[in-house]
């Protein structure tokens, strides 16, 4: 693939959509968006929604960091300082988890991509899809009203007994989380059914892009785990309203039971957050290395394995909460099993990059940053899964740093990579490549500057969730605060680059990166019907027929000139009817 070459042979390219085909412009008016059943528009609405939620929660995070710039607190002053600090970090956590990370990749990118990648016209239940978006909005409204009422100071985990006695608006927030849970369930249910029954002829399970495998695994968790969160929160609301005595020790309830209930959802939820990120990275690494993914089946199976193993390890959040000694040992041992499929993925990505022709595009920069940051996040998790070290590190900044490496360094970075990767497809515009790379680099350094010092802080004994600290920790905290500002700048640059592209960006070709999955086979942006007829499904990671057309700055699929030969009759049965699942 040398630069400047013009591909010879029969060139296939879908071209550009007309205005009446383009899903963004085929109908006008705010109502055509509000009542749309088009999965792409719903995905875009989700994207806007989660970005707003992220901005709110990110600003709260900056407040926290700025407050911690001085040992006795820089921002919140007065007698209520600690209370305010509690509320700020709680809302930061709750909004980030429930409103941003969980819906970010599955709901925003997933909604846009799953049917297109699959070659389907829409998700199986378009109305349910819209319903789940509005449930998300309703949940967000509940959270905002909790914020406006009397805040929330329980931590995003709502641990009893504090949550049954705290006089902040726990019921509002938990109702919000309850509703968001159903939004998440419906999204997952929709994707499972879509992937099972809507595959066009030729799209067998092992021709699915890995993003779909990851989404499928995520959906399994969403369907199986989220209902338990629902009942837990419902019981918590009942506990607060009339003290049912299941979690409240005053009436013989057991707070450890609450933690079991809560983490039975919330640990698998960690995989709801990270699995789709794995899917994105698998696609990004392969496409931008222009090399077939290494170990396709292993990556696919490891997604499912993570989803299932993720249900066996929730107890590692509770090593110090008073579980039985045998239970802690079992959970600790099981925890290590999850690292195996995660490691399989990381090694496969590295093997994919090995001897690939890597284009250091913006999405690839994010993907490489992801591998680096996720590896640190994952490896530090081992210290927390080990009983002995966890007793020392529990509830310190080490934990904070660990999960931020996974959630921010992992999910957020992958989300950004995915957004940059599919942005041309979603909006039909190319962004400034240099601007994107700059953002990626600033984010990478800003992130590390923020959270690497926190590992040190934690192992030296700085507990989390404190509004003030000993002066000996000051310089590490200050490093962290400066890093967070840098991270904020990086994210702002990324946002500006993307927004700028909408107005000034070049028109995007159908296949700007040289991907082989189906979404690059339709126009950018896709027509509202996705595919006029069921597309021809090839190997999602076979790049041999894809060549760079430097004249038009695009990748095209090149078929060698052939004699006209009798073509085989394509299968007439849809893939779902072949009983191969």
């Amino acid at each position: 693939m040398s630069a400047g070459s013009i591909p010879s042979g029969k060139v296939r390219d879908p071209g550009y959509p007309t205005k009446s085909e383009n899903y963004l412009t085929n109908s006008k008016g705010i109502l055509s968006w509000m009542f749309t059943l088009d999965h792409k528009r719903i995905g875009v609405m989700y994207l806007v929604g989660v970005v707003v939620a992220f901005a709110v929660a990110g600003l709260l995070a900056l407040l926290i960091r700025l407050h911690l710039f001085q040992p006795d607190g820089a921002i919140f002053k007065g007698s209520d300082a600690n209370n305010t600090y509690n509320q700020v970090f709680t809302l930061h956590g709750a909004i980030m988890v429930f409103l941003f990370i969980i819906p970010s990749i599955p709901a925003a990118l997933g909604n846009f991509l799953v049917p297109v990648m699959l070659g389907a016209k829409d998700v199986a239940f378009p109305r349910l899809n819209l319903c789940s978006f509005y449930l998300w909005v309703a949940g967000a409204i509940f959270f905002v009203s909790a914020l406006c009422a009397s805040g929330l100071d329980t931590g995003w985990t709502f641990y009893t007994p504090y949550s049954t006695s705290s006089n902040s608006s726990v019921i509002l927030a938990t109702s919000g989380a309850f509703i968001l849970g159903f939004s998440s369930i419906f999204t997952g249910l929709n994707f499972i059914v879509t992937i099972n029954t809507m595959r066009p002829p030729g799209m067998s399970w092992f021709r699915m892009p890995l993003f779909l495998w990851a989404t499928y695994a995520t959906s399994i968790i969403q369907v199986l785990a989220t209902p338990v969160l629902g009942i837990t929160l419902l019981l918590l609301i009942a506990e607060r309203a009339m003290h049912i005595g299941i979690f409240d020790p005053e009436f013989n309830g057991d707070p450890v039971t609450f933690q079991h209930f809560f983490w039975f959802y919330s640990h698998p939820a960690v995989y709801i957050m990270i699995l789709p990120a794995f899917g994105i990275i698998s696609d990004l690494i392969s496409v931008h290395s222009h090399k077939r993914i290494f170990g396709y089946r292993f990556i696919a199976y490891s997604s499912i394995a993570i989803a299932l193993l993720g249900f066996l390890v929730w107890g590692h959040h509770m090593f110090t909460s008073g579980m039985g000694p045998l239970t802690t040992i079992i959970f600790s041992a099981l925890t290590f099993t999850v690292s195996v499929p995660s490691a399989i993925k990381v090694f496969n990505w590295l093997a994919t990059m090995y001897k690939g022709s890597i284009s250091l595009t913006t999405p690839m920069c994010f993907a490489i940053a992801f591998i680096f940051l996720f590896t640190i996040g994952g490896l530090t998790g081992l210290h927390l899964g080990t009983l002995a070290t966890d007793l020392h590190l529990h509830d310190t900044y080490f934990v904070v740093a660990h999960f931020h490496y996974v959630m921010v360094g992992g999910t957020l970075v992958a989300f950004l990579g995915g957004v940059f990767h599919w942005w041309p497809k979603m909006f039909g515009k190319m962004y400034s490549e240099w601007g994107g790379r700059l953002a990626a680099v600033i984010i990478f350094f800003g992130f590390n500057l923020t959270f690497l010092p926190q590992f040190v802080l934690g192992s030296r004994g700085m507990p989390r969730r404190y509004a003030t600290y000993d002066p000996e920790f000051a310089y590490l905290h200050q490093m962290s605060t400066i890093g967070s500002l840098l991270l904020g700048v990086g994210l702002l640059v990324a946002l500006v680059v993307l927004i700028h592209s909408l107005f000034r960006g070049k028109r995007a070709p159908a296949n700007p990166w040289g991907g082989a999955t189906l979404e690059w086979n339709c126009t950018s942006p896709p027509p509202f019907y996705n595919f006029e007829r069921a597309p021809v499904v090839g190997d999602p990671y076979d790049f041999t027929t894809i060549e760079w057309d430097s004249e038009n700055e695009r990748y095209v699929t090149v078929d060698p000139e052939r004699e006209i030969a009798p073509e085989e009759k394509p299968e007439t049965e849809p893939a779902h009817a072949q009983g191969d699942h």
């Binding site: 829409d122 029954t197 013989n252």
Partner: protein, 423 residues
Amino acid sequence: MSTIEAGPETAHSADGHDHDHPSFLAHHFDTPEQQFDSGKLGIWLFLVTEILFFSGMFCAYAIFRMLRPDVFEGCSQFLNTKLGAINTGVLLFSSLTMAWAVRCSQVEDNKGLVGMLAATLSCAMIFLGVKAIEYSHKWEMGLLPAGLFVYDPANPHPPRPAPPEGPWAIFDPAYWTYLDYICAPFALIFVGVVIWLIYSLVTANKFHLAVAKPLTVASMCFFVGVGLGTILESGGSESHVGEHHAGEAHAAADDGHDHPDGETHESGEAVAAVIVEPNTNEILVVGDESGNKDETAVRQRLATDSTNSGIQSEIAARQRQSSVAGTSIVTEDAEITGAIEKVESEVLTARQAGVFFSIYYCMTGIHAIHILAGIAVLVWLLVRAVRHDFNRQYFGPVDYVGLYWHLVDLIWIYLFPLLYLIR
């Protein structure tokens, strides 16, 4: 709104051989079968979420029952096995009619479909009516979730203000019983549906009439359930109890330790007497025994028939229940007294029995909410069935709602022995 006449045409076009999308086939599906398969997988997944949703409460149940089996055993005596069994039967029957409805939709027997859906709806309403009796009875006794638990073994039926005289007295919320509160929305719905029925009769709108008729029957069935519950709760001897004061009547007659008549003010007096003279257990015991005698006499006669094991267990349960419930602690049978006394002194507190009732209300309450949701979708189905929306290519919605309804039944199949039949 489409009319009945419009219905069969769509059905026939589906039977036809054209490859265009029939009206019931969504644009993104290729075949009706694909649409049906998608919906079916979707509903199965939804049922999976439902099971996991309930699993939280089953888990809580298992933990507390494992820790204190005696609490569960003691408190279970407060639950009326007869009502639970009747409700089980009603739900099983509704499952039958629902499965039958699915069959009707598959063989395009539209009349049967409407009938079966109406029967399912009616059963759901009866179930709720019986549940209303159970709940209101326990609330009046103060058998509430832990935080609100006010049950006083010495005084299980706290007095209520006597309702004032006058024809409009029942509309004064200050004197409403819990049962009245529960019944009020259903009464409103009933009145609304009847008005609708009359309106559609007057305007001779066939479609509205066809919908309103089964709905009238169904909403009336709630009160059938209330009546049934009242009769069973009060021991089956007072089938003549008045309608809107049924709750009070049965509360007064409960377990026969008050005079088993339906006169509310009298029962109020009886309880008031206990309040004034807490030491006059003799009065109560006398009333108690007289009450018990005529009731148990009938039952013991029935129980002599060895096949009637249901009654036998019922008597055993009743004896324990009445002894746990308080007043008949003062009985000559020292052996029973000792055992119960011990259980009672440990169990009947907010922190013990209260937790049992918390779990009871959570489980049955959320189950009842599912029944309500089922009623809503059944009404929707009924309207569509009357509209002739379903045919053998498009019966998905009936099937999906059916599956949901069976799951609700399935959960009750477990709830009933777990809550009512602990011995």
